[in-house]
């Protein structure tokens, strides 16, 4: 089995018309997981993925850290509050947002080669 391919998050940004809330220059991801239920992410998301969700409150950062999820994509044009952005920066979690729905964003990411 080959290790999962890593993608530079930055290269995927245009595909989902993403807005960056934190610096994303160094981040790499191995796949994507979509869920709005925190326990579901804790149970099923693989470490290293990009997490797409409509949830924008600070518990998202805690869950991302718990699961070693490096980046969170807020879908449907959701924007985090300044407090949350600050906390993400402190925790080293990257935040970005897309106007697309989770489904559309996933389709574009898949087309860009992200298949995990």
């Amino acid at each position: 089995m080959t290790p999962p391919t890593s993608f530079k998050l930055k290269t995927l940004v245009p595909a989902v018309k993403a807005e960056l809330f934190t610096d994303a220059s160094e981040c790499e991801i191995t796949g994507c997981y979509i869920s709005d239920l925190l326990s579901d992410v804790l149970a099923h998301a693989k470490p290293g993925v990009l997490w797409a969700t409509v949830q924008t409150h600070r518990n998202v950062i805690s869950v991302a850290c718990t699961k070693d999820i490096p980046a969170v994509l807020f879908v449907c044009g959701r924007k985090p509050e300044a407090e949350v952005i600050k906390e993400a920066e402190e925790a080293g979690v990257i935040l970005l947002g897309t106007p697309l729905t989770a489904f559309a964003a996933a389709g574009r990411l898949w087309e860009s080669g992200l298949h995990e």
Partner: protein, 320 residues
């Protein structure tokens, strides 16, 4: 017996944190905790002179006169002075004692007792039990002493508790044990995850295997959020030993009605706010179980819940 209708009911403090220990004590402590007992008493046939000697011997300023365990009257220092003045110091007590005595019940709170002192201006009250039997005597000084004593005790307890924690910490450091305990507040969604965050950084610093680290962090996070969402508050304790991580979550209730049902994936009684925030997937307990090597839920309906989890640290089998 007079009622004390003028006593204000306990004010429901909007902000419980502003109530001082002393304030709690005056509500918690009862007259029976502060009174002197057994009371020094006299018989109706005792002379005022013998009562005066009794007062002198025991350094007291009032003596209840009793018969068959009930209060008949009261002789105070003023009565004695009057008797000396007017020359009836050798008369029996029942001739000159105050007959209509107001007593306090032993179960009254101290705050009520204080109010009774204010109201009647007496220096002391006989204390009777629910069957009107004389059980003690109480003065303002007794109340002050009792409060001081309990305040001191609380302070000592707090100091001892701190010392024990520090001691545990020192011993633990020698044994390479990391102990962390923190209170978790009910409904405090904004601080969820703070404890597991702290635990993660310790585990990371120790180079604990990432999979073990994640599993332990998930257990702590789920346990912490359950206390926040489903309970009146509680405490999370994390112990990181060289061979395992032990997590204990205890709360103040209300307990789990049916633990089997609660353990089922998807079962949740979480409210709307919690669900809006992405909690309440009904996967917390099953997640905790899956992530643990040892997992126990102890809960009583109407009682408390205790979650115990152990995650074994993988032994390094060789160079990675």
């Amino acid at each position: 017996m007079q009622s004390a209708a003028s006593v204000k009911p306990v004010e429901r403090a909007g902000d419980a944190r502003k109530v001082s220990v002393a304030q709690i004590l005056v509500y918690e402590l009862r007259v029976r905790d502060a009174m002197s007992h057994p009371p020094i008493t006299a018989l109706p046939t005792d002379t005022l002179r013998s009562i005066q000697q009794l007062m002198k011997r025991h350094k007291i300023s009032g003596v209840p006169v009793r018969a068959d365990g009930n209060v008949l009257g009261m002789v105070s220092l003023e009565d004695i002075i009057t008797a000396l003045d007017e020359g009836h110091i050798d008369d029996p007590a029942d001739k000159w004692m105050v007959h209509k005595v107001i007593s306090l019940r032993d179960h009254y709170s101290l705050v009520r007792a204080v109010a009774e002192f204010e109201r009647h201006g007496f220096g002391r009250f006989p204390v009777v039990d629910s069957a009107d039997r004389l059980v003690g005597l109480i003065t303002r000084g007794d109340i002050t002493n009792c409060l001081m004593h309990h305040l001191e005790r609380r302070a000592e307890e707090a100091v001892a508790h701190e010392a024990a924690l520090v001691a545990a910490r020192t011993v633990d450091e020698k044994a390479q044990r990391y102990v962390f305990r923190a209170a978790v507040k009910s409904g405090d969604f904004d601080h969820a995850g703070k404890i597991s965050q702290r635990m993660r950084s310790v585990m990371r610093a120790r180079g604990i295997d990432p999979d073990v680290r994640r599993r332990a962090a998930i257990v702590a996070y789920e346990a912490e959020t359950n206390i926040i969402i489903h309970t009146f508050g509680g405490e999370l304790s994390v112990v990181i030993d060289p061979d395992k991580v032990v997590i204990d979550a205890t709360d103040l209730g209300p307990g789990i009605e049916n633990t089997e049902q609660a353990m089922q994936e998807g079962w949740s009684t979480a409210g709307r706010l919690a669900r809006q925030l992405g909690f309440g997937a009904g996967m917390g307990l099953p997640n905790m179980k899956k992530c643990s090597d040892v997992f126990e839920v102890k809960s009583e309906v109407g009682g408390t819940t205790h979650i115990h989890s152990e995650i074994f640290l993988k032994k390094a089998t060789g160079p990675l």
